[in-house]
C-alpha cells in the first residue's frame, strides 16, 4: 500500500464534477446509429462472418493451391471420391475440386461484385435522371425500364450470353488467363438486372427532391449536378446499399444458373456455377461433384441475403430505435 493512511485522499467536492463535454452524451452519427442496429441483428452478423470466411477461403486458398493445380487434368484419376490427396474429390476429367472451388469462388465472387457495380451504374444513372428531371425524360427512361423488365430475365440472359459469347478470346490480367466469357457474363447480368434498381432510385429521387433542403441548396447557387450527386444521392444511399448487396447474391445465382446450362463462363476458368455443369449426370454416383460448389453457392447467397436484411433494418429511417 503506497497511500499513507494518515492523509486519506479526499475528493475536493462531494459530487462528481463533470466537464461540460461530459454533461451530455454526444449525439450519435448516422454511421454509429446504423452500426448499433446492425449489431443487434444476429442473422446479419452470422451472414457477415460467414461471408468473410468464404472470401478468406477463396482468396486465402491461393496461397496453398496454384491456379495450375486447379486446372491440372489427371484423366487417370477421374471422379475420385474425397480422399487425403483430394479432400473434395476430383471431377470428370480428374481436376482437384478443392482447388477449383477456391479459384471458382474468386470468379463467382468477382462476378457478383462487378455485375452489381454495372447494375448500380446503369440503374442509379437512369433512376436519378428520371426521378430528378421528370417529364418527358422520365417517361422515356421509364418506358425503357419497363421494356427491359417485361422480358423474362432468364430468357434475356440466356439469349444475350449465347449471342455475345460466341467467339470470345481469353484475356490476360494480373498474369493470369481468364476466359473472356467472364466479362460477357458480368455485362449480361448487369444489363438485365438494373431496372429494379432504377425504379427504387427514381422513387427515392421523386420524394427527396421535394425536400426544402434541395430548394435551399438551389437558392445558394448549387448546380444541378451537385444537387443530384451531393444532396439527393447521399440521402437515398440506404435503399441503394441494400439493393446492391442483394444483387450481389442474385448475380452469383444467375451466373451459376447460366454456367450450369453451359452458356456461362467457359473452361478453363472455373466458377462455382460451371463446376455444376454436367454434375447432374452424377447426382448419385459422384455426389462430391455438386455438393461442394453447391454448398458454397448456397452459403454465399444466404449470407449475403442475411447481410442485406440486416442493412435494410439498420439503415431504415423508420426504425430509429437505438
Amino acid at each position: 500500500m503506497e497511500s499513507s493512511p494518515a492523509q486519506p485522499a479526499k475528493p475536493a467536492y462531494g459530487v462528481v464534477q463533470l466537464l461540460p463535454d461530459e454533461l451530455e452524451t454526444p449525439p450519435l452519427s448516422l454511421g454509429q446509429l446504423t452500426w448499433r442496429r446492425f449489431r443487434r441483428h444476429k442473422m446479419a452478423i452470422f451472414g457477415s462472418v460467414t461471408l468473410l470466411l468464404i472470401v478468406l477461403y477463396a482468396f486465402g486458398g491461393m496461397l496453398i493451391f496454384s491456379e495450375a493445380d486447379a486446372n491440372f487434368v489427371e484423366t487417370g484419376n477421374r471422379l475420385a471420391a474425397p480422399s487425403r490427396q483430394h479432400p473434395f474429390g476430383t471431377d470428370t476429367i480428374g481436376r482437384d475440386i478443392l482447388a477449383r472451388t477456391i479459384y471458382g469462388g474468386q470468379i463467382s465472387l468477382i462476378i457478383g461484385l462487378t455485375a452489381m457495380l454495372v447494375e448500380l451504374i446503369i440503374g442509379v444513372t437512369i433512376g436519378a435522371l428520371a426521378g430528378y428531371f421528370g417529364g418527358k425524360l422520365d417517361a422515356i427512361l421509364m418506358r425503357l425500364t419497363e421494356a427491359v423488365l417485361v422480358i423474362p430475365q432468364i430468357f434475356l440472359l440466356l439469349v444475350m450470353a449465347k449471342y455475345f459469347a460466341q467467339d470470345i478470346s481469353n484475356i490476360q490480367l494480373l498474369g493470369r488467363t481468364f476466359s473472356g466469357s467472364v466479362l460477357v457474363i458480368i455485362f449480361v447480368i448487369g444489363i438485365t438486372t438494373w431496372p429494379y434498381l432504377a425504379r427504387i432510385v427514381r422513387a427515392q429521387f421523386l420524394s427527396i427532391k421535394e425536400n426544402d433542403f434541395v430548394l435551399a441548396a438551389r437558392a445558394t447557387g448549387t448546380s444541378t449536378r451537385d444537387i443530384i450527386f451531393r444532396h439527393i444521392l447521399p440521402n437515398s444511399i440506404a435503399p441503394i446499399v441494400v439493393a446492391g448487396t442483394l444483387s450481389v447474391a442474385a448475380a452469383i445465382t444467375l451466373e451459376a444458373y447460366i454456367s450450369f446450362l453451359g452458356l456461362g463462363v467457359r473452361p478453363p476458368t472455373a466458377t462455382w456455377g460451371n463446376m455444376l455443369e454436367g454434375a447432374y449426370n452424377y447426382i448419385e454416383t459422384a455426389w462430391w461433384l455438386w455438393f461442394f460448389p453447391g454448398v458454397l453457392i448456397a452459403l454465399t447467397v444466404l449470407s449475403i441475403n442475411f447481410l442485406g436484411d440486416g442493412l435494410r433494418d439498420a439503415l431504415d429511417p423508420h426504425s430509429r430505435t437505438v
Binding site: 454526444p26 449525439p27 452519427s29 448516422l30 425536400n211 426544402d212 433542403f213 430548394l215 435551399a216 441548396a217 438551389r218 437558392a219 445558394t220 447557387g221 448549387t222 448546380s223 451537385d226 451531393r230 444532396h231 447521399p234 440521402n235 444511399i237
Partner: protein, 329 residues
Amino acid sequence: MANRILEVNDLRTRFHIAEGTVHAVNGISFHLEHGKTIAVVGESGCGKSVTMLSMLRLLAIPPAEIASGQVHYLGRDLLQISEHEIEHLRGKEIAMVFQDPMTSLNPVLTIGRQLCEPLRVHMGMDKQMARQRSIELLEQVGIPDAARRLGDYPHQFSGGQRQRAMIAMALACVPSILIADEPTTALDVTIQAQIVELVQRLRENLDMAVIWITHDLGVVAEMAERVLVMYAGFIVEEALVDDLYEDPRHPYTIALLAALPRIDRRRDKRLLSIPGAPPNLLLEPKGCPFAARCDLVFDRCRAEMPPLIQVGPNHQAACWVDVTSGKPR
C-alpha cells in the same frame, strides 16, 4: 431612385394544376434600395414566398409559369438571363433563408460541408480556406465552439442553431440582398427575437438589403423601414413602417392591424377577426380581391382592380375608397 438595387415590375406567376390555373402572383411591382430592409406581410397563401421564388427562378416550370414581369437587379433582368448566370447569382449576390430550419438543411451532410459549399462554388476557395471562413461565419452568427461543430450533422443542432447555420450559409458570400422567408416562424419567441436581432446586426455590418417575409406584424415594426402588404397575389398597400401602423389606408391593412392582440385592450373581449375567407385563387382575379370581405365596398370594387394610388409621401394603397373619409375617390 438611383440607389435601387432591385426593381420588380408587374410580376405575374401562375401554377397550372389539374384543377385549373392558380393565380398566385398578380402583377406586383416594388423596389428595394441598397442596404435597406423591406418587409412583406400577408396571410398564408397570399403569394409572398412565390414572389420571392419567382424572382430567383426557383420554381419548377411547369407547373409554374411566370406570365409576365421584369426583375431588375443591377441592370440585369433576372427573368431573362441564362440558367448559368442565375445559378451564379443565387447565394452569391442574392441569398435566401427559408422558413423551416428543420428541413432546410440536408440531414446526411455535415454542417461544415454545407457551409463550405457556397464558398467553394462561388468564391473558388480551397478546402482549407473554406473551412476557416466557415468557422468565422458560425462564430459570426453566434454558435460557440464553431470549429468542432463543423463536423456535426444537422440533427445535432437545435432549431435556433440550425436557423443560425442557415443564416451563416446565406451570408457566406456576403450577398447584397438577403431574402428571409419567414425565418422565425418555426422558432419559439425568445429564439425569434435573437434571430431578428442577429439579422439586423449583420445587415448593418455587411451593408446588405433585406427582404423580410413574415406574417408577424410585431417583427415588422422592429425590422423594416418599408412594408408591403400583400393580399391574394396583389400588393394592396405600401408604406413606411410608422405610417402603416399609424395611418393604414387599405381596409385589409386596417382589419389586419385591428386583429392584432393588444396589451391595452380589455381581456374579456374576443380578438377581432376578418369575416370571410381569401378569394379562390383558381378564379381569374376580377375587381378588388378584398371586395367580398370589405365594409367599404361599392360597385366599382367588384368590377375593377384599383391600382396602387399615392395617398401620401411614400405611401400607396390600392383602394377605390379613401378610408379616411369612407368615400369613393
